[in-house]
């Protein structure tokens, strides 16, 4: 069961988690990214590519379900303006066993960082700047590709 949701609404952590807990699920892993409050950011704005973003997230989730034994893979991403402390992204995996849930959860967030069209703009006071892509994200994602090739 794959669920992809991109929306300007706040992320409903409990609702999304209980959605995957039914059936014979034994392990639920999740990762949530939040707007950090420590570096003077007043507003973080997320832009996306409607249609293509959802399709990219769907591809990432589908690949995870082929690679690990999963009962559910959820990717929820917020777009639009948000404040420090608010949730930007939530990925959840559910599986019979914990290793599948944990590894697939790390995979989803690593791949999302490099393979899904989202762009962040930070506003500090009157100054806005677009966040630069990080080499460490490309590295983290390529770790999984190296595994694929084995």
């Amino acid at each position: 069961m794959i669920r992809i949701h991109v929306s300007p609404q706040p992320i409903d952590l409990l609702g999304e988690t209980t959605k995957v807990e039914g059936g014979n699920v034994g392990a639920v892993a999740s990762f949530c990214g939040l707007v950090r409050a420590d570096d003077g950011v007043d507003v973080l704005e997320l832009e996306h590519y409607p249609g293509a973003t959802e399709a990219a997230l769907e591809r990432i989730a589908r690949t995870a379900t082929q690679r690990w034994s999963l009962q559910a893979a959820t990717i929820v991403h917020r777009v639009g303006p948000m404040r420090p402390g608010e949730r930007i992204v939530l990925v959840i995996t559910a599986a019979p066993h914990r290793r599948d849930a944990l590894d697939a959860c790390a995979y989803l967030i690593d791949r999302l960082k490099t393979d899904a069209p989202f762009w962040k703009r930070e506003t500090r006071g009157l100054e806005a700047r677009w966040v630069e892509a990080r080499a460490s994200d490309t590295e983290a994602a390529s770790r999984w590709r190296a595994d694929d090739a084995k």
Partner: protein, 83 residues
């Protein structure tokens, strides 16, 4: 063909999308970018460093050498920074 711009590409150009009539010589994303950059102004500014650009043709991520022949939608944008 619809051309979409995102993030600072969109901001510098001042447009989110447009559907210009392309000259015959434009067959790849790179040629499209060069042709748009030649318009000057925000286009020249947005496309000054092609190595900082990424693209999608009909919503598939592609290299800048990819063909745009027959494409309905081409998107040009910076490296992604989501999550």
């Amino acid at each position: 063909m619809t051309i979409l711009y995102f993030a600072w590409v969109r901001e510098r150009i001042g447009l989110a999308e447009e559907a210009p009539r392309l000259p015959d010589g434009v067959t790849s994303v790179a040629e499209l970018i060069a042709w748009l950059a030649a318009r000057g102004g925000g286009y020249a500014e947005a496309f000054a460093e092609p190595e900082r650009l990424r693209a999608a043709v009909d919503q598939n991520f592609v290299g800048l050498d990819a063909s745009v022949i027959g494409a309905r939608e081409v998107a040009i944008f910076p490296p992604v920074t989501g999550g």
